[in-house]
């Protein structure tokens, strides 16, 4: 009897895991089944249109690429800088403690709340309007906590002996950080940053809040241009009742997932490549 109970429990737990994996497969298959037929070079290279046969994601694709580059430029220096400060410089004071609690709380704030902040602060306050820059600033604030936390972990993984050896040779704090801690932590930092950016890549809610548009028949030429992005274009198509637009949404999803996959693969390759060289 005990044996039967144990086996039943085992298979129950296994079934739950298999169900979760099957759901993932189902999700992918559903998008592939409906969207693959609509994927083509023309789809990648056309602007959105009222006519599903002519519609494409050129403006959304370029908008997303612009957005990612600007977000990276803003958030990576800030996030890595904050992580260096918290790990290497900060003394254990109440202020440091507040900053750390605050970062872990920020990581749990819903993305749409960042959209509200972006709307009030960047779109209205700084008068950036519905521009790429306003979107990138909002996204940068959104992923900043994740960038900081992952960079902190990477920096913390560098053994203390490396720092002490550097100090023993007469280096200053910054020289130690710049020439020893950062290079050693770089693969971990890069991996974390790429994964954070891929989170920003899929976010739609904050961009809708700050007013990213859906019908844009041009690609942005600078950070002050209005823009659209892949998740917003997908949302727009998915919310139309007509079946053809649903298929377009699925095709857009495939492009988005392919980009995310590429980013994740890059992160894994970087980690594996450098892990081989660094051994303590």
């Amino acid at each position: 009897m005990r044996y039967i109970k144990g086996e039943a429990f085992k298979y129950l737990c296994m079934a739950a895991t298999v169900i979760a994996l099957m759901l993932l497969a189902l999700l992918m298959w559903d998008a592939w089944d409906k969207g693959a037929g609509w994927l083509s070079l023309k789809f990648l290279n056309s602007f959105p249109s009222r006519f599903p046969e002519q519609a494409g994601i050129k403006s959304a694709l370029w908008g997303s690429i612009w957005l990612m580059i600007l977000t990276a430029i803003i958030s990576i220096p800030l996030g890595v800088g904050a992580a260096i400060y918290l790990e290497e410089y900060a003394r254990r004071t109440w202020l440091t403690r507040i900053i750390e609690i605050n970062i872990s709380n920020l990581a749990g704030v819903p993305s749409i709340v960042y959209g509200i902040l972006g709307l009030a602060l960047f779109v209205r306050g700084l008068m950036l309007g519905r521009s790429l820059l306003a979107g990138a600033l909002t996204m940068a604030l959104l992923i900043l906590p994740i960038i900081i936390i992952s960079s902190q972990e990477a920096i913390r993984a560098v053994p203390k002996s490396i720092r002490e050896a550097s100090y023993a040779l007469g280096s200053t704090k910054w020289q130690t950080v710049r020439h020893h801690v950062l290079p050693a932590a770089l693969p971990g930092i890069l991996t974390g940053n790429i994964l954070s950016l891929s989170r920003a890549m899929g976010e739609a809610a904050p961009l809708i809040m700050i007013g990213a548009l859906t019908f844009i028949a041009f690609t942005p030429a600078g950070p002050f241009d209005p823009f659209t992005a892949l998740p917003i274009q997908i949302f727009n198509w998915a919310s139309r009742p007509k079946a053809e637009f649903q298929f377009l949404a699925a095709a857009g999803i495939l492009v988005l997932l392919a980009l995310l996959l590429a980013m994740n693969a890059a992160a894994i390759i970087i980690r594996n490549k450098y892990q081989r060289y660094i051994k303590w």
Binding site: R2, K5, K10, L12, C13, M14, A15, A16, T17, I19, A20, L21, L23, L24, L26, L27, D30, A31, P77, G81, Y85, L86, I98, I99, N102, I103, S104, N105, G108, V109, P110, I112, V113, Y114, G115, I116, L117, A120, L144, P145, T172, K173, S198, M201, G202, A204, A205, I208, M209, P231, I234, F235, A238, S239, Q246, A249, A250, L257, L260, N264
Partner: protein, 319 residues
């Protein structure tokens, strides 16, 4: 006297010359070190400023909203109709919708998540765990708009197959996909908690003749309970803040209902609906998004704090 003047004017000795350069360099270096430290500190401060920014923006606009609408009406009213005349600003239907989605998602994610975390932590071989865990975490990395699409293109037709009366937009469909979305959060965090239960506890139980089932349910789960509960709260908080899937699948009809097959509206979906429309800046409709955002922010913040508190307060420490 003459020699002294020459010394001061022309620095005739090379060693002194280098000494003064060295002093200068040290001073420069000290200034540079200090400047770098201050700059890095400012980077860390940005996160605090973000929080202050969020709180100030929400408070500022919410206060001017409460000048028009009494706070009591907002918090206790059961009709939410800011765009119709007469206007009603009772937020309870939106909160009701949000809680329905979160509860529905929890019903899906908690049993599946905890069972799969027990499997991964206690039954699966190291090889299976190392492949399955990252694959499951892919589910957490899929953009929420994709879940929304999955809900309307797959789950909703499936539900309507069995329950023909179900609305084309319904809470059940949105709950299911949000449940799938937060599942890896439950399973991954719970599994981490279970794996940090020391091996000696398990071995002690096996030595007393326990089966694997006994060890899992009576030793590992209770010992890891703080981490497991914290993961539940965190996952539910994520469900509360989820936006795109509920906007696409759950509908835009704020109502006080508990029927999962009706169209409802959550707080997040309402905020999206307003910002998609052309609401003039400064109008009362525009201000509602800040008031609703404030409620959402407070709810998720409280849940995150509770999650952290559970983890700290009830952590079992083994040396």
């Amino acid at each position: 006297m003459d020699r002294l003047r020459i010394q001061r004017g022309h620095i005739p000795y090379l060693s002194e010359f280098f000494h003064s350069i060295k002093l200068d360099r040290l001073r420069m270096q000290r200034i540079r070190e200090l400047a770098i430290e201050k700059a890095l500190f400012l980077c860390a401060l940005v996160s605090v400023l973000t929080t202050i920014g969020i709180v100030l923006v929400l408070i500022f606009e919410t206060l001017s909203f409460f000048e028009e609408v009494p706070i009591l009406e907002f918090l206790t009213g059961t009709t939410w109709a800011p765009t119709y005349r007469p206007q009603h600003f009772g937020v309870l239907p939106l909160i009701n919708g949000t809680i329905m989605i979160a509860a529905g998602a929890a019903v899906i994610a908690i049993p599946l998540g905890i069972a799969s975390s027990v499997y991964l932590s206690e039954y699966a071989s190291a090889k299976v765990r190392q492949t399955v865990k990252p694959v499951l975490e892919i589910l957490a990395g899929i953009p929420t708009v994709v879940y929304g699409y999955f809900a309307i293109s797959f789950i909703t037709p499936l539900i309507r197959e069995f329950i023909p009366d179900a609305n084309i937009f319904n809470a059940a469909s949105a709950s299911i996909v949000v449940g799938i979305m937060i599942l890896p959060m439950v399973s991954s965090l719970s599994e981490d908690a279970m794996r940090s239960v020391p091996r000696s506890l398990r071995e002690g139980a096996y030595a007393l003749g326990s089966t694997r089932f006994d060890v899992s349910t009576k030793i590992v789960v209770p010992a890891a309970l703080s981490g497991i509960l914290a993961s539940f709260v965190l996952a539910i908080s994520r469900a509360v803040g989820e936006t795109m899937a509920v906007t696409l699948a759950a509908g835009a009809t704020p109502k006080m209902t508990l029927n999962f097959f009706e169209s409802i509206q959550t707080m997040t979906a309402y905020i999206v609906q307003v910002s998609l429309g052309d609401t003039p800046h400064g109008s009362i409709e525009y201000q509602t998004i800040f008031a609703v955002g404030m409620v959402l922010f407070i709810m998720t913040l409280l849940m995150n704090i509770v999650s952290m508190w559970i983890k700290e307060r009830y952590r079992e420490v083994y040396s």
